[in-house]
């Protein structure tokens, strides 16, 4: 296993749309192991996408288990992921291994349903919410040539938390 070099913006490879994975073989699984190694080497990383190391395939890793407040599914290898349903919107803070020294607020769906294959090609469906759903949306953006820089909103763009009372609601 090896830590792979992470591309940083404005590397043009980060703006390209990745191709679906078609061969679920040992070579792919060796790459997944290298990508895991790379994610673990990143400072407090909770996800990584294959294009971030220059492999333009639809493959992401997500693991929010290091964040005590975040409920999640543990370490996930998500290949050819498709979000099949979205619900709600929430503002949250994001940074990126490919955009050092910058964080910003991004609006994401609060709950998603997701279908993805694992490293052996087995299809699984997931229901996710909150921080884990945000990480998945951030990583899938990498597969479509988007960075969170493309979605950062003004600091004044704010959405009320669930159950919050509307300041104008009277």
């Amino acid at each position: 296993m090896a830590v792979l070099p992470v591309l940083t913006y404005p590397d043009p490879r980060l703006k390209r749309v990745a191709e679906p994975v078609e061969r679920f073989d040992d070579e792919l699984r060796a790459f997944v192991a290298d990508l895991e190694c790379t994610m673990e080497a990143g400072p407090a990383a909770v996800g990584i996408a294959a294009p971030q190391v220059g492999r333009l395939q639809r493959l992401i890793l997500v693991d929010v288990s290091s964040r005590p407040r975040a409920a999640g599914h543990g370490r996930l290898v998500l290949i050819n992921p498709e979000i099949t349903a979205w619900e709600g919107h929430v503002v949250g803070r994001e940074g990126c291994l490919s955009v050092p020294d910058y964080t910003g607020n991004v609006i994401r769906a609060e709950r998603i349903r997701l279908a993805a294959r694992d490293a052996h090609g087995v299809l699984t469906e997931y229901a996710m919410e909150g921080f884990e759903a945000r990480v998945v949306q951030h990583e899938i953006d990498h597969l479509d040539g988007l960075l969170f820089l493309d979605r950062v909103v003004s600091r004044r763009a704010d959405l009320r938390p669930r159950g919050g009372r509307s300041p104008a609601g009277r």
Binding site: A45, G47, R93, G95, A168
Partner: protein, 172 residues
């Protein structure tokens, strides 16, 4: 180009301020750093890190004609600034309620005593002239943890609506 300055400009809002000021800075040989520019009560306010090889007077002279034409007050301070010193906030606080004297002082006083280091604060007065409504949004670093901040806010009573949420930042 070793010297950093904080350039502040304030004056009546009108279209074209940013373009005119930054054009003057560019032609004056300046390098721009981090900036915050905001319309407040019909005024436009600029706080901007500017790098310039000359002294503060030379920088002011480069911007003064544009500032004068636009009716902006201009101020230049040498700073010990550096880029790449971002702090990532881990907590967000929202406050809103009927506008009354002392809200900000009371809330931020309680939070500061409980260890909040504010990185970003925005406030607005909304509602109407008869029934003004104060809206405050704060991001910062909870140096003594979020629990300490919650306890501090609980002590404020129910005269203002305060909500606090931890911020987990995606790194991916």
């Amino acid at each position: 180009m070793a010297n950093w300055y904080m350039l502040t400009l304030v004056g009546p809002d009108r279209p074209g301020i940013v373009a005119r000021v930054t054009d003057a800075l560019y032609h004056g040989g300046c390098n721009l750093g981090e900036a915050s520019m905001l319309r407040l009560g019909g005024n436009f306010t600029v706080s901007m890190m500017v790098q310039h090889s000359g002294d503060a007077e030379a920088l002011a002279a480069a911007v003064a004609p544009a500032a004068h034409d636009l009716g902006l007050h201009l101020h230049v301070d040498p700073i010990r600034g550096e880029l790449h010193r971002h702090v990532v906030p881990d907590v967000r606080v929202r406050v809103h309620g009927a506008d009354r004297p002392g809200i900000v002082a009371r809330v931020t006083g309680a939070l500061a005593a409980a260890g909040l280091d504010i990185t970003d604060l925005e406030s607005d007065v909304a509602g109407s002239g008869e029934r003004p409504l104060y809206v405050l949004r704060i991001e910062g670093v909870a140096q003594h943890g979020v629990k300490a901040l919650r306890a501090a806010l609980a002590g404020l009573g129910d005269e203002v609506d305060v909500s606090l949420e931890p911020v987990d930042t995606v790194v991916g």
